[in-house]
Point group: D2
Amino acid sequence: MNCLKLKIGIIGAGRIGRLHAENIATNIREVEVKSIADIYMNESLEKWAYSIGINHVYKDHRKIIEDREIDAVLICSPTDTHSKFIIEAAQAGKHIFCEKPIDFDVKRIEEALNAVEKAKVKLQIGFNRRFDHNFKRIKEHIENGKIGDVHILRITSRDPAPPPIEYVRVSGGIFLDMTIHDFDMARYLTGSEVVEVYAIGETLIDPSIKQYDDVDTAIVTLKFENGAIGTIDNSRKAVYGYDQRVEVFGSKGCLIVGNDKPSTVEIYSEDWVYSEKPKYFFLERYRESYIDEIRSFIDAILEDREPEVTGLDGLKPVLIGLAAKKSLETGMPVKVERV
Amino acid sequence: MNCLKLKIGIIGAGRIGRLHAENIATNIREVEVKSIADIYMNESLEKWAYSIGINHVYKDHRKIIEDREIDAVLICSPTDTHSKFIIEAAQAGKHIFCEKPIDFDVKRIEEALNAVEKAKVKLQIGFNRRFDHNFKRIKEHIENGKIGDVHILRITSRDPAPPPIEYVRVSGGIFLDMTIHDFDMARYLTGSEVVEVYAIGETLIDPSIKQYDDVDTAIVTLKFENGAIGTIDNSRKAVYGYDQRVEVFGSKGCLIVGNDKPSTVEIYSEDWVYSEKPKYFFLERYRESYIDEIRSFIDAILEDREPEVTGLDGLKPVLIGLAAKKSLETGMPVKVERV
Amino acid sequence: MNCLKLKIGIIGAGRIGRLHAENIATNIREVEVKSIADIYMNESLEKWAYSIGINHVYKDHRKIIEDREIDAVLICSPTDTHSKFIIEAAQAGKHIFCEKPIDFDVKRIEEALNAVEKAKVKLQIGFNRRFDHNFKRIKEHIENGKIGDVHILRITSRDPAPPPIEYVRVSGGIFLDMTIHDFDMARYLTGSEVVEVYAIGETLIDPSIKQYDDVDTAIVTLKFENGAIGTIDNSRKAVYGYDQRVEVFGSKGCLIVGNDKPSTVEIYSEDWVYSEKPKYFFLERYRESYIDEIRSFIDAILEDREPEVTGLDGLKPVLIGLAAKKSLETGMPVKVERV
Amino acid sequence: MNCLKLKIGIIGAGRIGRLHAENIATNIREVEVKSIADIYMNESLEKWAYSIGINHVYKDHRKIIEDREIDAVLICSPTDTHSKFIIEAAQAGKHIFCEKPIDFDVKRIEEALNAVEKAKVKLQIGFNRRFDHNFKRIKEHIENGKIGDVHILRITSRDPAPPPIEYVRVSGGIFLDMTIHDFDMARYLTGSEVVEVYAIGETLIDPSIKQYDDVDTAIVTLKFENGAIGTIDNSRKAVYGYDQRVEVFGSKGCLIVGNDKPSTVEIYSEDWVYSEKPKYFFLERYRESYIDEIRSFIDAILEDREPEVTGLDGLKPVLIGLAAKKSLETGMPVKVERV
């Protein structure tokens, strides 16, 4: 093949930025990560970048935006910079992959989406779970009519350990930080919009987060446009690991997807049968999905088609999350804002 | 053993009355079912009664109430007769096993419970699921501290097929007829009272039940006194059979209990791995529990201890069910009435 | 129903004789156990017999054989009396249910079968596992062609604890006492005869059984008439309980059946996921099958059809067991004797 | 890191050679594949080599052997060249990774091992399954005493489809081609040597392989030095995919490891519960293990320690396979030759 590789710049060299860089380096041959920028760029990050073949390393993300050779950018910087960087990248004619959430402010999200639309560039949002082998399979079965009409959606989504308290402070709260993935999954699987939510929550794990009006244990009830209903339960701390299960019940059957386990070994002993806990960490559980979402983004560019996770898919879960937040505050069900 | 058998009379010879009669005849040797009464008593019922050794058959339940030899009665007649019969039996000094629910009217329940208290007889309510081998095991593990403090309770409870529409009309609605078992399970497993509920529901299976302001698909969110939260999802029609699962998540782990299956056979074929559906029918799934609840009632009498399911245990789920009903009507969360 | 009940006498009031008596008393209404005989009959056994409604209790089994009212006998006495009692009962025109094995001596088995044939009475052998819900299901799937032609049969059959050493002494050895059930299962499931066996075994659990030339851990390889091959593995001591699994692999798929468990509860904890061990004891695991085999025997009499487990089905596994024994002794594969 | 990468040459660019090359390119940074040789080298292979960064491409493997810069070779050529290439590479002072089996001829294997010993280079044999996440875990549990002493080993190993008939012709037969992996697993898991085998087999899938005196369905019984016994069953065609299961039963418990599945999705329908078949293809199932075995080989070189799979580990399964072959021919158990 003689054609040139797609050239990509990454903005933000934190955990997720580095993950994408390494995934591309080892798994996606048609792409070259030309450059990476991080406001906290330092020697050790530089070394890491060079070691995986990224030859340009900046503090200033503008160096990437202004580079004519760059076809697309991955925005992996903190949430409060997302909408600004989307607008800049769109105006520079770059295709954009942006981590979730786009922003906590709906107006700023809309400005970013408008800029993208005007520039006619691709924008994909980083809801990686849509690319998980388990959830992808469920989605296919629903679309193939395996369970008829969807009646009830159940999502269990629990983290192995709560994030640092400093993170909680700026995370936007559990519904915009953690449940947002479940809201996306809810829309993705049912193929319908959430119209109303009711949220309850408690601080059962770490009382210190109460100061930020946040909770660590929550249940959110959902009403969908198509008549289906749903329930999500979240905890910031499942001692047995990362618990990610989904169940979709319909008129013709039920789809249930459990956790992946590190091995299938069972130990039959005098007292119990032991088997392994779910994979502990999200990077382990969703490893493949991070690769596949980037591959899908690249394909959307190369084939000039709509990305699998659009800007609207980025906006909607924020609206649901904001409604859930309001519901928790008021103790009342809250309608999700329309766009 | 030379001692006399405990003598029992059964009021109501419908499906559940006959089930108890047969269970006692074949499984509980220390008890004799002396008599059975049913307002619709007929020749075929009489024959059945004689065939299993019940020698006295009446239309009028008073014959049982007034029989000095009778130690205890099982009330298996329609719900609207329960409180009346409880009062009569209590006043006659009989111990009482009464099918759930006691009544839909809280005042009448309270009158019945007062009569029982005054007469100092035993009263056990027919929440048989507490005696199911799976749920009993979960309860033990919770009490032994296996999962620490309870944070989240999830109940899935789905029937294989909706009841006849005439039954729906008088059933008191899905929350008092079907979910009431789940409300009891919620109290039983958490060991805490439900203080507030929020219910949503839809008519996705059979629109004809709308005329009775009932739904066939529902989600109820629960807040418990001890801070735990819970969610119940119900459907009147799971095509794959009777779906009865519970999950209790706590600070130290999670308990999950699935359905019983008729066999453990798996078929590995060219396209799928096939295994059996859950047991289809509640009498099949809960067969043992019906025997065990009566055994427990008899033991409570013989050992002169409090029954495992008390009159208060009969009242509380009705209060939760009434709150859920009001929540569905008003679209608002509703506090459960205190007693 | 006005018709008279089938009248049965039981010879042998050991564990299995009492089990059948109680199963009939509580589960099989069309049968009356009129009498029971045991050479060691005593007061406590008599009391037990009366308590479940058996009104005639003897030391001498001839009292049952000579009783004109008796339609059928269950032979539950020690193995070395089986063939003699079969002959006596047959000559007296009684139908016969006989526990396995008929005998360890092929000639005596043949004499017994001849007597049965001459008397034209029914004879059913107590291979109860054929009536187990799991194995019955597998058999149906095989007959319905779900896995095509059978290629490989795998049986795992392990006891929770070795029998007392005095029992080992007279048991006929592991192949005639324990594996005999698996040989029957092999014939039942494949629908083909075993033509050659090769057996290896070791004394890994209790060296004291070596004095009786027996082993406690064994693997038997089978060649079937239809070309299929099979392997059985046995242990006298599985610390995790009674382990009874079967796998049948064929040209179109594979059937796998696992153990029954007391509950479906799983405990997710910080270190492992715990679930329950298989049912520990054969009476617990095969409870229903013991009832069903008697029911089937009764039906064979009432419907005048061939029993589901014939005399030949009783003879064949003994021939296989004797071949396995010889193989263990000689270290060579051994052909199974034809009849 | 400034240190030079380990330089490797690959001999044989067939499926497995290319697999290792790609695995190293994308996953093992401390290694550079400098060159690859294949007697059938062609333009398309060259292009592929360059695309993954292999800059030297030869027809003649001697070019690699004679290259002073090369630290180690991977021998991925046909089996009949293995021992010759091992000797050449050893004499040139290269460390060697060689695909299994080393040879079908014991004398030639011994010559190769002698050459390796004399040259004091590392030799690792490609029994990749030892590096499989499931089997590795079982091994750890055994070594940690989780099941006490090993009594019974059961291996099920079935391919999804038979190899081409031309391959069967030169494969050495099912025991040296397919079961050899199971023989290795048997030694690896029990930590004991196989001293005697008994093999039976049939041609149930494709009669045409009979011309090569081969079978497609087989059971092999094993006796181990430490008293344990084992059974392996093989089929060339499991319609449901690649079936790789192991069970190790011991004095304190039992370890069971099942197949990996593409997803955990279950579909509950009106007739069955459907779940996915095992992964279909060995490259898919054992993907990680191929990477890990090379990583282990590289580590053995860098840390100057004995490889995890030694030359003796390469020889022993061939001896067992030859004994199994002889057993099938003679119909008798055969002792495994000692070395």
